[in-house]
Homo-oligomer: 160 residues x 2
DNA sequence: ACACGCATGTTATATAGTAACATCAAGCGC
DNA sequence: GCGCTTGATGTTACTATATAACATGCGTGT
């Protein structure tokens, strides 16, 4: 987000009402299927991520956590984020120090993002890792996870 | 670097003596060619990165900055790192909050790394961005920079 | 000399993340 | 039910990472 940009933050509109409840229920279901528990703080953090219009910083989550404006303690949120990342419900965007809910439920555990430097939108996409994997294999590396983050301008911000 | 790992840190041996001087001179030359100045703090930070055996944290650089053990002030080092990144002399590895000198002098401004979770080595390679660029283009994004970080085990640590 | 632009020095503060330990709650063998 | 184990949470304190804001210095062109 640079100073010259006048566009809105975030590409996604955030979930509300029925759509939000559906997404949370789906997460509950997936947890139940894998013997994990979507406990209250975990569910609350996921809810905040799903409602948001774009990537959220950890301390945004901490501030917004309490229903009545009381912040959470940092470990509460960081633990919830760890859990959500382990289960594939959320991703950390390294180059922003921020978090987003996974928009590609379940399909693979490597995240890739297109990040708009102007409006802050972060769009997740399914990376084609063929070339990177080949490079790793050529050097004898056993790769367990890949993060790919492309910075640039989204269509809207190129026009404006 | 996990607790079970007994291997040495870093894949590179770090530059010393003549090789180090050559690398610094090359950087001076490239700066002169582009009307930039490799000033003392910038040169010192680059030197520390080149000497190192692996990725260095900003506060490692801050601590090591002074020739006699006196630390630098944080802005001194962060500003130097900004400069070195702008000029392509160094890269930040987002998933480590750490910095390395560029090992692929000048060839493009997109960094890609193979990072060993066991020994901490970070090997730079030339990414094949074809697929990512295509994905971006399909969504109308204008991409200016890409970071690709693959975590896993290097050949040595797979054996050990 | 003088002003301009850029780099640096300095102080203070903001932001991000974790260690360590106490407490709580669910499942399980008996 | 009882007590044990395991995993999650609550709480305090702290470490690590990074930047804002403003003063000072330094080279360059006129």
């Amino acid at each position: 987000m640079n100073a010259a940009c006048h566009h809105e933050d975030g590409a996604h509109h955030g979930l509300h009402g029925q759509a939000l409840r559906l997404a949370l229920t789906a997460a509950e279901t997936r947890c139940a299927a894998s013997q994990e528990r979507l406990t209250l703080p975990r569910r609350r953090v996921l809810e905040l991520l799903l409602e948001a219009h774009g990537p959220l910083k950890a301390y945004d989550l901490i501030a917004a956590f309490g229903s009545g404006g009381e912040p959470a303690k940092p470990p509460t949120v960081y633990r919830a984020l760890d859990f959500l990342e382990r289960q594939g419900f959320a991703h950390r965007i390294e180059s922003l120090n921020a978090y987003v809910p996974c928009r590609l439920d379940g399909r693979g555990h490597s995240a890739a993002f297109l990040i708009c430097d102007c409006c802050g939108a972060a769009e997740e996409f399914e990376p084609d890792l063929g070339a990177g994997i080949a490079a790793a294999a050529a050097r004898g590396y056993a790769v367990s996870a890949v993060t790919l983050e492309a910075r640039g301008l989204c269509p809207v911000c190129q026009v404006g």
